[in-house]
Amino acid sequence: MARRKLAAFVVALGSVAGAAAIWRRRSAKGREHVDVYFADGSMVTFAEGSDEAARLLPIARRALSQARG
């Protein structure tokens, strides 16, 4: 009985963790960010609110606006 309860608890915990990961991934996808890739194969993400994003995102917005007229 105790084993069943433990298994149910583990499954429930896994489900909650999975749902949270999916939710975080989906909500992060729509956020403003800049992904920068370097020659050595490394990549860095500047998320909304960071100093780098604050410098880069206005340039990106200007480029989008110019491209779309």
Binding site: E32, Y37, D40, I59, A67, R68
Partner: protein, 135 residues
């Protein structure tokens, strides 16, 4: 393949790309899908500025994606040239970057600035007119 053809192929194969500009590393436009040359130049300048601003401790960036709610801006840099493109929201990043790298590779060393291509076309026209005048 020349710069204009490489860009035309890019836009044809990548439905996600709305507009693209191929430029020298300093921002001189080689070819663009934008009809307005000034806007193409402005996008190229912004692409150069994005790369320069993104450069940090890890060295020179070779490609970047800047995503805002209105869409995404991509810049991919080669040895001498760069290509910049804009897409709608939430593009397939890997695919767009792959297509941009292919475009840069296809443009290769044959790409010439748009101004030179235009002057060549003008010269051809002048030659044609002169030949027509003689006949």
């Amino acid at each position: 393949m020349d710069a204009a053809q490489a860009l035309a192929d890019l836009v044809e194969i990548s439905a996600q790309i709305e507009a693209a500009v191929l430029a020298e590393a300093d921002g001189t436009v080689l070819a663009s899908t934008l009809a307005d040359q000034e806007r193409a130049q402005a996008v190229a300048r912004d692409a150069v500025e994005l790369l320069q601003t993104a450069a940090g401790g890890a060295g020179e960036p070779v490609q970047l994606e800047a995503a805002v709610p209105e869409g995404s801006v991509f810049v991919v840099r080669g040895d001498k040239r760069l290509v910049a493109a804009v897409t709608g929201r939430e593009p397939t990043v890997g695919l767009v970057l792959y297509d941009l790298k292919t475009c840069l590779r296809l443009a290769g060393e044959d790409a010439r600035p748009a101004k030179k291509a235009a002057s060549r076309a003008r010269k051809k026209k002048d030659d044609g007119d002169a030949a027509g005048g003689k006949a």
